[in-house]
Structures are given as structure tokens and as C-alpha cells.
Symmetry: D2
Subunit: 309 residues, 4 copies
């Protein structure tokens, strides 16, 4: 009980068109720490304050998008139990041995109804945040927090068909809460759904899309409003294209959307509701799309609805 089962988004593997440019974007500009390059040339990053070995993996290829995303679970028994439940739900699960994904324990691998490849794992090599576990203090040495001063990879927003199955999978099998939803009309179809498995506003979100396996964005957590402004200033300095700088009505986070050089969308955010499983679901309707999506400007850029990778 308490906080168990699926804990958090632990890894995204993103396809990039040019690794040198991508390393500059995710490394120098965003400030993630480059941890290693594997034999296939994939590059592994972590945010300074993440403790597992890596959270972002970049793979160079000729098409942008998301290879897979992976959530960390409480322990190995959880993994076994979830495999049983996912298969009972009717989704085929593949077992992957420890070490196949570098620094990672065994995984289970399957496709969610929206078409993305999802992994679950219970173990990843520990790297720490440079402060240690005994009398760590509060600040790392100068230079460890850099670039956009990102605290950690936080959540994911993906697109595809089969929203109803997605909701069933995440609530009934994964025990996430459906925290918020955007519906076409009161009592109508779900266009967007936001799920939480923690005391935070959301841990994953889905949007309806006719094509499966579309990637909308991966989102990174900042520590303060001032760091949010600083990140926006850095984007201007480095010429990173900003799509929107606003407040989400849904989840309440202060957000900036921007693009990596391959056209993958990134988000940085700060704040957002503290929520619990007993917090009633919030429902937003399409006639309030502006407020739901971008609650300051009430304006939704066409690209935000139309562009995915």
C-alpha cells in the first residue's frame, strides 16, 4: 500500500535525425548529463537530480519520434504481477532479460492500445546526484545544475487510437487515477486523458489520434518559476523554437513547449496541482479548449494539435 506498483516514468528513447545536434540540444542546452554511448551509438542522459543511471536515450535514425517509454515499478514481484494482469487484459507481453537494455534489470515489453511500445522494469543501475546519501546538503557543486536546470524527466504525452481501452488499461490494470479529461461534450467522448499514479497532477497523458504510435512530447520538471523563465531565456539565446509559453488549465502546470532539432516536441514545466486518489476527476469540454489547454492566452497553436512525431 501507500505508494507501490508503478512508480514513475523512468525512461524515454527518442529518435533523432542528427546525433551531434541532438547532443547539443539535450546536453548543452537542456543541461542533461551525458552518461554513456552504447555499442550501437545510442547516447544516454540523466537530469542532475535523478538518481538512476539514465532517463533519456537518443537513437540516431532517419525518422523522428519515440522508440519506447519505460516506467519503473516498485519491485520484481510487482513486475511479475503486472505481467499477469496485462496478459489477462489481452495484451501480449514480451520478456526481456536483464542487461539487454544497458544498466537495466529485466523488463516486460508490450504495446499500449495507442500503439506505443511500453516497458516496465524494477531495477536500474544507481548513479546518484553527486550529493551522496549521508549528510548530502542541499546544493551540488557549481556546474552540476546547468542549461535549463532540469530536475528530472517527469511525464509523457502520446497519441493514438483506442482511448477507451487506454483508460481501462491505466485505471484497471495499472491502478492509475484518471485525474482529468477533455471531452467533446458533457458526457461525450474523451479526446484527452491525464493519469496520475502519485501525489502529483499527472504521470502520463493520452490524446486521440487516428494513427497509432504518435509521440506528442516528453516533459521535464523544473524547481521554480524563476528557472522556468530562465529556461525560456535560454531558448531564445540558443534559437530553440518555442511553440507556447503558458499555463495549462488541465493539471495547472506552468509550461513551455519547444522542439528539438529533429522536430520532437519537449516540455518543461513547474508547479501543478497536488492531487490524491480521492481528488475528484476534473472534466474539461471542447468549448473550453482554450482554458483547458492554455489558461493564460486561451489560444491553442495549430501545431500543438497537428504536429507529432
Amino acid at each position: 500500500m501507500a505508494m507501490r506498483g508503478i512508480l514513475r516514468l523512468g525512461e524515454v528513447q527518442i529518435r533523432v535525425l542528427d546525433m551531434a545536434e541532438a547532443k547539443r540540444h539535450y546536453g548543452k542546452y537542456m543541461g542533461l548529463h551525458e552518461m554513456m554511448t552504447d555499442a550501437e551509438g545510442k547516447v544516454y542522459f540523466k537530469a542532475w537530480n535523478e538518481k538512476d543511471h539514465h532517463s533519456v536515450v537518443l537513437r540516431e535514425t532517419d525518422r523522428a519520434g519515440l522508440d519506447h517509454f519505460a516506467y519503473k515499478v516498485f519491485d520484481d514481484a510487482t513486475l511479475t504481477e503486472l505481467q499477469r494482469k496485462i496478459e489477462a487484459f489481452g495484451i501480449a507481453v514480451e520478456n526481456v532479460d536483464a542487461g539487454v537494455y544497458p544498466k537495466s534489470g529485466r523488463r516486460i515489453k508490450f504495446r499500449v492500445p495507442t500503439g506505443q511500445e511500453m516497458h516496465l522494469y524494477a531495477e536500474k543501475e544507481y548513479a546518484g546526484n553527486t550529493l551522496g546519501e549521508t549528510n548530502p546538503g542541499t546544493l551540488p557543486d557549481e556546474g552540476v545544475i546547468r542549461g535549463m536546470r532540469i530536475d528530472g524527466l517527469d511525464h509523457l504525452f502520446v497519441l493514438g487510437p483506442n482511448m477507451a481501452d487506454t483508460v481501462r488499461l491505466f485505471t484497471e490494470v495499472f491502478d492509475f487515477d484518471l485525474a482529468e479529461e477533455l471531452v467533446d461534450e458533457p458526457g461525450g467522448n474523451q479526446i484527452l486523458t491525464f493519469f496520475s499514479c502519485s501525489s502529483r497532477a499527472h504521470d502520463i497523458a493520452f490524446g486521440m489520434h487516428p494513427e497509432p504510435d504518435r509521440f506528442h512530447h516528453a516533459s521535464f520538471r523544473l524547481s521554480s518559476t524563476e528557472d522556468h523563465v530562465y529556461a525560456g531565456d535560454l531558448m531564445g539565446k540558443y534559437g530553440i523554437p518555442i511553440e507556447q509559453n503558458d499555463r495549462h488549465g488541465i493539471t495547472g502546470v506552468k509550461t513551455i513547449y519547444f522542439f528539438d532539432p529533429s522536430g520532437n516536441r519537449n516540455e518543461i514545466f513547474v508547479g501543478g496541482h497536488t492531487r490524491y486518489p480521492d481528488t475528484p476527476k476534473l472534466t474539461w469540454t471542447m468549448d473550453h479548449l482554450g482554458l483547458a489547454a492554455f489558461a493564460q492566452s486561451l489560444h491553442v497553436p495549430e501545431t500543438f494539435l497537428g504536429v507529432s512525431t
Copy 2:
């Protein structure tokens, strides 16, 4: 799985010496909303952004301190299961019918090893935060957020004997994580322990004290650093005695400690680590007490160690 079991601190009942002064402090100064007065004269408050009917109950009497604290659990079945586990642990549990505590479903009631009366409950009347659940937007009307701009009651710090039993109860029975601890020496006795049942830094904390049932403080969550500064400015305006304005090394929150007119200690805070059950426990040693307690000034006021109610 995900976030289940015990969810959060939902209620503290605090003894005050003068209700008029206490209402001014918790109501006008701190900005909590007064919800009702019961037949016995107890006054019920909630923070604007809490959705259950109340979280702070004040009872006027001739001795300051804490009557009880109550955590909300996921559902009624959780309550039944926890009763079984608590009794199996060797603690006597009393059943309290719904409605005995106003606006509350049935409760189970027992004493934790440090001597405080703890309740668990699954239901409390819903009051909402004025925004509703459909297209709520992000800001309530002018005047709803007031005083210290408190978002919600957050956690509790209590004192008493029997630390080892406390750790066993909260980790083995309640499935909280022991997130951080202060020990007298490496591998030595636990002086302070901090437990999390969420993705936040702590949900309850305990300190060694020879006497049982001592109340150190109840803590309230703010939304931004700027609100933290504003709350400090308000304390000066209203002549509320500040004990310390600093950063905790443990948990990483920015804190201000102050006293209500009866001498009960309050805390407001912002920030703190995002943590998960797989985050390694952080250990602080007494020779780094300054850094552990107040990581900016490294100074621990004598009252902070010596005064409780």
C-alpha cells in the same frame, strides 16, 4: 497499487487557550477558511485549495497541544485491512461510528508508539475549492486565496519515546518509506525520522522525546517561493513570532517556523524533494545537525529542540 493505502494527513485537532485569538491567527492571518463551529464550540477550518470539508480543528481548553491527527485512506476496505494489521502489530484499535467526528465517515482510532492519538478514515464530506469539477480554470475569485496563501495542510511532526516501534509501524504496517533520518552517529540511534507515503519528501515525521504525546508542529504547503516571502512579511505585520526562516537540509523544503497565540508551533513551507519508494534513504548525523535542520544558517534555535506542546 500505484498510490493506495494511507493517502495523506487529513486533519489535526489543536488545543488553543483563547478561541478568539486562535481564530484570528488561523483564519485572518494564516488565511484558512472557517467552515463551521460544532456544538462543543470547536471551530473547523480548511485551506482554500483543499476539497474535503475541513483539515484543522481548534478546541479551546487550558493546555495547548494536539488532541489527535487523522490520515485519510483510499477506501473503506483499506480501513478494515489496516485495523487488522494494526491490531496484529499489537496496538489496540477503537472503532468510531460515522458522524461522531462531524462530516466524517467511520474512523479507527489508536495511539502510535510516541503517544499521540491517531485516526484513520476513508470518507469526509466534500466541500470543493470554489472552482468546481467542470472547466474549473486555474484561479478562484479575488479574496479566496488570502492571508498566508496556504494551499493545504501537509504533514506533521510529533515527539515521543519508542522510535524503533514507530519506524516498524510506519514502514511495516503502513507501508510508508523511511525517507530520511537523523542518527546520533553513523549506524547509531535514530533521533529524527521522516516518512513518505507519496511522491513528496515527507508525510509525517517523528522526534525522540522522553515524554509521550508531544506536539512539535503541523505544516502547511505554499505554492511558490514568493508566497513564502509574503507569508514572512505578514508575520511581521501581524507580530506573529518567527522561530526560524531557513531551508531544511532534510527534505529540502524552504521553511518558516512560527507560533500560534497558544504557543503551538506552525510551519509553512514550499518545495522539497520529489521522491519515490526507490529513492535511497538519506541519513544525517548529529555532527551535521545544523546542515540537516537548517541548511542555510546551520543554526538550530534552542527553542526548536526544547519547545513542544
Copy 3:
């Protein structure tokens, strides 16, 4: 010496199409305090932390725009001396007796080369900020700081022809510093000019426009980044149209542009360079217009260049 001569923007008189809507916008939404209505129906406002009687005057008529703007000068002798210098510069000056403009001492009145009516005055009735001048403390009572939490009217941006004369008038006659400029090419024509008469980034700005007497915006100062975000949230809540939320490269301020119900553009901002008369002029070139204007997104909305009142 020290800070003398022209001190600051003290008043703007703005034309609005519907006074009820305008009062809601400048009063309830922006949080300015309504001070009085004069015999002609003009409504007078001040920001809570301004000490003179009013800074914003609204006049209802059938065309939006700016009636006049007025700067406060050090003393009456300054007014006399400035009249002499302005006439020597070749601009006709009209004398206006004390009391013609309510609560105001005598004024001198003339048209700047860009066509706007400008006033100078040395006296205005004192109203205070509710805190008094003896042991004022730091915070007014609850409710005094409201709406967008504006600290004060700050500066002005107007459009018209005759940029070279404008620069000569403001630097040679008024002793302002040309702090920053946007030029069409290195060494080329000035498109935008920003002048400071204080230790702040700018006190007035001008843009080239073929038509005289065009009003781009009046700008209001906030006290913190968090209040800036809060103001943006309020704009969404009240449906106030936001034009841009970004950082200015020029002056370095964090800005939001929005419109009043009559189509007059307003700005709120926070921050910006601390500057002095010995700070070298900063020059921006049209090929860096994005960075100069909006240094996060590098995007300049067409309305920002095309819409004025």
C-alpha cells in the same frame, strides 16, 4: 544634480469606448484603485503603491487612444526652466493653471515631434499608499494589493514621425539618456528608441510611424516574477486578450502585452536592467528584431507592429 529635472511618467489619459467595461478592466481586473470621477465623467485611478492622487485617467468617447501623457518634474523652477528650453528648441508651449487638471498644480503643455500631447507638472495632490510615512511597515492591509498586483504606472511607448527630432528633444532638452535603439542597419535609421531618466531601463520609448499621435501602450510595473505569472493567469480567467508573454531583449524586462476592451494595448512587466547614464547605449539591428523585441520566442506578432490606437 543626482536625480533632478524630469522624474517619471506621472499620468496617462486614455480614451475608452465604454466606461463600464473600462472600469472593470482597469479597476477590478488590473486592480487599480478608483479615486474619483470628475464633472465630465472622467474616471481617475492609481496603483496601490503610488503616492500621488492618480496616474491613469479614463475618458469615454468614440475613438480609443491616448489624450495626453504627463511627466512629473522635480519642482516649479524646473518647470520654468524646461519651458524656456522647449520653446528654444522650437516647440510652442501652453501654460495651464493649477486646478485645470484636477488635483494637479500648474502644467506646461506641448506636442512632442511624434504628435502626442505631453504635459509637465511639479505638483499633484498627495494620496499615499495607506501605510503612512511613520513606521509604515512593508505590507498594506488585505485587499489593498489586488487584481494584477500592480505597483505603479511605469513608462509609455508611443508612435509617430520625426524620430531624429524626438531624440534631440529627449536627450538635449530633457537630459534623458538614449539607452537603447533599434536601427534598420548598423549606422542606419532609428526605428525604435528607448530613453531613461532614472536608474531603470527605460522611462519612455518611441517607434517610427507615418501617422502622428499613435499610442502603442502604457506599461505598469509589478514586483515579482510570481506576480507576473499570476497576472497572466488572471488574464485567462477574465478573458483578457494576451498579445505576447515573453522577455524583451531591449531593456531586459519580462513582459505581457494585452488589450483593454477598447483595443488600447497595456503592458505589465517585471525586472529589466539597472542602468546609469554611463552605461553605453545598446544597439539592436532589424535582422535581430526577434531577439530585440521578444527574446524568448524570437517571434513578433503582426499585431505588435501593426496595431496602435
Copy 4:
């Protein structure tokens, strides 16, 4: 007119007991940039966003304190005029040739009534802030803003006898405004005086002290509340002794006082009133010393009154 005469505090020369420790404190910890060491071993620093060559000079010797402070004036003619006025006031003035103080134009040198050596100068070698003067953008490269993220040297607080003469000198000769004062009783003696020569809350302050030439502190300006918190966190990390972290009632700035390794007091601050020459003087009385000095805690540490160098 506008902003002329004396512009700002441009230089402090501080005596330190151990240069290696002092360089670590002012360089690595505070984040000032080391610019040069002169033939006598004095070390010169500037804050990243200051444009003149240096603002802080450290001299190693066996007694802590302040050698001199220097204000920059508008131009050479101002220097000549001020020399005449200072001598007419009855203070002896010494002329110092350009270059005697490295990177500096000619100076005039004299003792203020409180006993400190004060300089005035119109020229100092330009160093810039790394951004240049053409299309500078808003952010320097990573690593330029470091340590306590100080924007610039800001103001000075010194102690000594002869308060009445000090007030006459700064208001009648230097044309500063007496912005705020602390008096022993209404209409009584001035204990503390705060003067502004800009649109900011204060540019220099004086306190009564029986001994002449005592140094209370030099103060450095930050850009945001978040940087203020960050600086406090750094002080804890580096073990820098904090004397007080609070809000000043006088001037309204958010402050932290701390000590360099030689015992000289430093201040970092953010915010404070925007003020103008027409802002009425604020008067604080000794029976409100707590509010005047530290408006959150209302507590004045004994060291704050008793310790100077």
C-alpha cells in the same frame, strides 16, 4: 538634469586578513569575477553584469575594515564642480591623478563627517559584461553568472559620529534625497539615515557610532527572489556565517547579512521600493526598531548593532 551628478557606488576597497581565503569568498563563493592583481598584491573584482573594470578591491593587511569607497559621477565637469562645493562645505579635498588608482581616471579624495575616506571619479576603464553593445541578447554564456549570481555592487552602510553634518553634506552638497531615517523619538535625533541619488530605495546609509570610520557592510544586488534563496543555500553549503535573513522595513529590500572570513559584513538583497525625489521621507522610531530593521522576525541580532570593522 534627469539623472546627473553622483551616479552610484562604483568601488569599495576592503581590508582582509588572508587573501587566499578572501579570494575564495568573494570569487568562488560570491561569484565575483577576478579581474587583476596589482603590484601591491591588491585583487580586483567585478560582478558579471557590471560594465566598469572593477567594483571590489581587496587589500591584505592585519586589520579588517574599509580603506575607502568611491562613487562615480556623471562627467569630469561634475567632479570639478563637486570639489568646489565640498571645499565650500569646509572639507579638505585632495586631487589624485588618473592612473594612481588602476584603470581609473582622476579622483578627488576626502573624509566624510563619519570618518571614512570617500572618492569621486568620472572615468573607469570599460570591461563590459561579455554580451557586447550590439544585439547583446539577455543571457551570457553558461558559467558567467555563478556563485551567488550577484548582478552588481549596490550600496554601502558606514558608521561614525557627526550625523547632522553627514545629512547636510549628502543632501545640500551631493543632492541626494534623505529617503528614510530612524530617530530615537518622534522629532528626535537621527540614529540611521538612508540616502538615494537614483530611482531606487537607497544608495548609501549611515549609522551613529562614537568612533569614526567604522564599516558596517557593503551590499550587492541580486535579480530575483529565487536567486536570494539560492544564495542562502550556497552560504550553508560553504559554511559562510549568516547573521540575518529577513526583510528590511526600511527600504523594503529582502536581505541576507553574512560575514567574509575576515569578519567584514556583506549583504545581498533583492527588491526594495521604487522611489523618486518627490517620495516623502519615511521616518521610523526606535520603539519600532524591529519593524524598521527586520520586518519579518522583528528581531535585531546584537551583532547587527554591535559588530563593525
